[in-house]
């Protein structure tokens, strides 16, 4: 765990998680850089299985900050830091998702700052709901759940987004969040308790 309590800048993670039976969203093609030529094409081959999960995570975490741009910045950063990737510490996809989570947080905060700089006091109109695009595709009974998830503390929200919406296993979520699987389980439990409180037990 990062002693600061947050996601690490550099890749530090426990041993790679086992594959989840029954269909992990992570791509099966994860040869690692040691098995491919160190070229642009090789990087593409290496990173491609993670792109869907990266895009989904960016859409969940930073829907108001051009998620595709977040993926771009994440890939550019991964390219720069590729030599630091250590396959013994986790899969390519979890490494890339950790970078994506960091970039999404940066983009989301920058977006808030830009809005504040435009008008610090203005109330945003309803049409400026930053999650409107994401929510447009939701069923009516998922809307309150989606809003409640957005109200969770940051670590709980990240765990929920990775596990339930990106579709990672607990072990994969732990690898992205740089913590033990047991920590993810307790974080998810706390999140579910809070969600029940937020949207009401009767629902």
């Amino acid at each position: 765990m990062n002693p600061d309590g947050g996601l690490p800048i550099e890749w530090v993670t426990p041993a790679g998680p086992p594959a989840e039976p029954g269909g992990s969203p992570l791509g099966a093609n994860d040869p690692g850089p040691e098995r491919v030529a160190g070229t642009a094409a090789a990087f593409t081959t290496w990173a491609a299985p993670a792109l869907l999960a990266m895009t989904r995570l960016a859409r969940r975490l930073a829907p108001d900050a051009e998620p595709e741009d977040v993926v771009q910045e994440s890939l550019a950063r991964a390219w720069q830091k590729w030599a630091q990737y250590d396959a013994s510490r986790g899969s390519a996809t979890t490494w890339l998702l950790a970078i994506t989570a960091d970039q999404a947080r940066t983009a989301r905060r920058a977006k808030v700052r830009r809005l504040r700089l435009i008008d610090d006091s203005a109330e945003l109109p309803d049409t400026a709901d930053p999650h409107a695009a994401r929510r447009a595709a939701l069923r009516e009974d998922d809307l309150d759940l989606d809003r409640a998830v957005d109200a969770l503390p940051e670590r709980q929200q990240l765990a929920v987004q990775l596990h339930y919406f990106v579709g990672l296993s607990v072990e994969e979520t732990a690898a992205v969040m740089d913590c033990a699987p047991g920590t993810v389980k307790s974080t998810l439990h706390d999140a579910r308790t809070r969600l029940r409180h937020l949207i009401g037990e009767s629902r």
């Binding site: 600061d4 800048i9 030529a37 642009a40 859409r59 890939l75 030599a83 905060r109 504040r116």
Partner: protein, 353 residues
């Protein structure tokens, strides 16, 4: 946990799984394959469609485009990939012949583009276009920007007079209201990244001359540093003001705020209650600007809005815009369009951990 509570937890777990599955089904994230034009390396100076991420392997080699959860590969021209490598990463998969190094000559400081000449047309560069080398030996790399997008990657070759890059990763993010000079600047940068170059260091001036096209050169200036020493140090926020009131309308509290600023040369670390961020700092004798702001970590910030929250917000706003800075005695004051921050120095041991 009571049985009722456990049942509720199971129900919430199932509900979340179901909602997540429905959301994933509606967000497959695989856009239709682009037409052939998207594969092509954009002509120099012409920005492509937004939301692409491109690897420029060399002037005529492999172009990789990744976008929106799908990837495509196309070859272009007669070039090819670099020789296969069994390395464990990009940094080891360089360069034939081995680089003898440029960092030893130009250092790792940031260079800011001053002007470019592209096909014998010279324009002044918009501000903030940077180039920075790092690493040693044949593991040298470059990072930089072209005014809109960032790029990074290893050096292919570097001698005391020649330089080539690649493969370079560059984002392809569109931008509105680009300065008029930007297309020319970007064309010159594209030429620099894609081909071979000669280079010279003339004092603080780094001149890079691409072999092609003729009549092209880029002049970078080492980031000025004389003023940096005046703002170097560890600072604690002692007061803040919004709405352009300047130093006379600062909101203060006893003991200062839980906001710290550490400036060390061209780098800064900014700590508030909920975030720690790193940034590059550019200073002149009167102005300071934070760029490349990255969140190092954040913690859940559940405290109710209070004076500290407002101070945090003021720091956040200041990081997003240029500010004027002054030193009055020991106090460092930064004044932006609508934000004023006052810092007092502290011993490093008293700063953030």
């Amino acid at each position: 946990m009571s049985e009722q509570s456990e049942n509720s937890d199971v129900l919430m777990d199932a509900r979340l799984h179901a909602a997540g599955q429905r959301w994933r089904d509606a967000n497959v994230g695989s856009p239709a394959a682009p037409d052939a034009q998207v594969f092509a390396l954009a002509p120099a100076g012409v920005r492509g469609p937004r939301r692409r991420w491109t690897v420029l392997a060399s002037a005529a080699a492999v172009v990789v485009v990744i976008a929106g959860g799908a990837s495509w590969i196309a070859t272009r021209g007669g070039g090819g990939d670099r020789s296969p490598s069994t390395s464990t990463g990009l940094g080891k998969a360089t360069a034939t012949p081995a680089s003898s190094g440029i960092v030893a000559h130009v250092g790792t400081r940031t260079y800011v583009l001053a002007n470019v000449t592209y096909k014998d047309v010279t324009v002044a560069s918009p501000p903030g276009i940077t180039l920075r080398f790092s690493g040693t030996g044949n593991k040298e790399s470059v990072t930089g920007s072209d005014g809109v997008n960032s790029f990074s990657g290893p050096l292919r070759t570097a001698t005391a007079s020649s330089l080539s890059f690649g493969p370079i990763a560059e984002t392809e993010i569109g931008a509105a209201d680009e300065p008029a000079a930007l297309p020319t600047v970007q064309a010159a940068i594209s030429a620099m990244l894609a081909g071979s170059n000669s280079w010279q260091l003339l004092g603080a001036k780094l001149v890079i001359t691409p072999a092609q096209p003729a009549g092209t050169s880029l002049i970078y200036l080492a980031q000025p540093s004389p003023a940096v020493t005046a703002v170097d140090g560890t600072w604690q926020l002692s007061g803040y003001g919004r709405s352009g009131g300047g130093a006379s309308s600062l909101v203060t509290q006893t003991g200062g705020y839980s906001d710290w600023l550490v400036i060390d040369g061209s780098r800064a670390t900014i700590s508030t209650r909920c975030y720690r961020e790193s940034a590059a700092v550019t200073t002149t004798p009167t102005a300071i600007r934070f760029t490349q702001v990255r969140v190092v970590y954040s913690v859940p910030c559940t405290a109710p809005a209070d004076a500290e929250t407002a101070a945090d917000d003021a720091v956040g706003a200041a990081l997003s815009a240029s500010a004027r800075w002054t030193r009055d005695g020991s106090t460092l004051t930064m004044t932006g369009d609508d934000t004023t921050l006052a810092y007092t120095p502290v011993a490093k041991a008293g700063g953030p951990s």
